[in-house]
Amino acid sequence: MKFGVVVFPGSNCDHDTYHVLKSVLGQETVFLWHQDSDLQDVDTVIIPGGFSYGDYLRSGAIAKFSPVLESVRRHAQEGKLVVGICNGFQILQEAGLLPGVMLRNAGLKFVCRHIYLLTESNQTFFTAACQKGQVLKIPIAHNDGNFFISPEELAELEENRQILFRYSDAQGNVTPAANPNGSLNNIAGVTNRSGNVLGLMPHPERASESLLGSQDGRFIFQSLINGVQH
């Protein structure tokens, strides 16, 4: 399995993601510079968290015009896997590869803490290593993670089972109290219609080593690794 981690000048979770894939999980992993369009034959592209180009306009608003994103778009169109984490999710939304948009958190504050995620399905490339309905403990860290979309499109997402992760309590109950940012329907992660592009606000790379308080993030990376090996 070969992973590519996209690096924008303002990416700040690029090295964390690389560290988990390469050193913790032992996968071949390369950095993909934002000005390059060569994806170096990677199987899966990961767009990590950070502030791409400073994000002063809107998160991801400028990143969508970068050379690397053109190639990521093609990669996705070919049915290959793309994962956007946090800012990466926002970029994929801006680029039109994932539905919806992120508004400022309902509490108007940056929120960094461990939250619980209900896995809606384990029949996907991204969750195949999870149990059905597994609850994952993974941290979030964002200012703009308040998922918004029109009611019609939301209904469509639900119908197509594109919502992969929802904020829940430790027991997997999806409640308003478990929603850290005001996201519609507690949405924390969605896929595109064909199911090969995932965006999620929580940071699985921050929950892949016991030293950091949770290893649940590994289920997501492991799913990707298993998927290709099968």
């Binding site: 306009l57 608003a61 400028i62 948009v101 508004l103 309902a106 308040n146 918004f148 979309i149």
Partner: protein, 80 residues
């Protein structure tokens, strides 16, 4: 030549920042019944350019970059 562009949230899109400012104003005793926050841009061009060409360019910039059409609309306030 300078173009002035306003980007605002579409009606119906939640504006937590605007709501918070309104709440604060109400607390301070201002009887404000509604407030929504937007963004304002001033974009400068070479004076020699033709105004209609500039307008076309500004529309493109506003549409593609300055606003996210899912939640926002824009208005060119002035080009002069």
């Amino acid at each position: 030549m300078k173009a002035k562009v306003i980007v605002r949230l579409k009606d119906g899109v939640l504006d937590p920042q605007g709501q918070t400012i309104q709440r604060s104003l109400n607390k301070m005793g201002h009887e404000v019944t509604g407030l929504r926050q937007g963004k304002y841009f001033e974009i400068e061009f070479d004076d020699l350019q033709d105004e209609s060409a500039v307008r076309k360019q500004v529309e493109e910039i506003a549409q593609d970059v300055l606003c996210n059409p899912i939640i926002e609309t824009f208005e060119i306030e002035d080009i002069s």
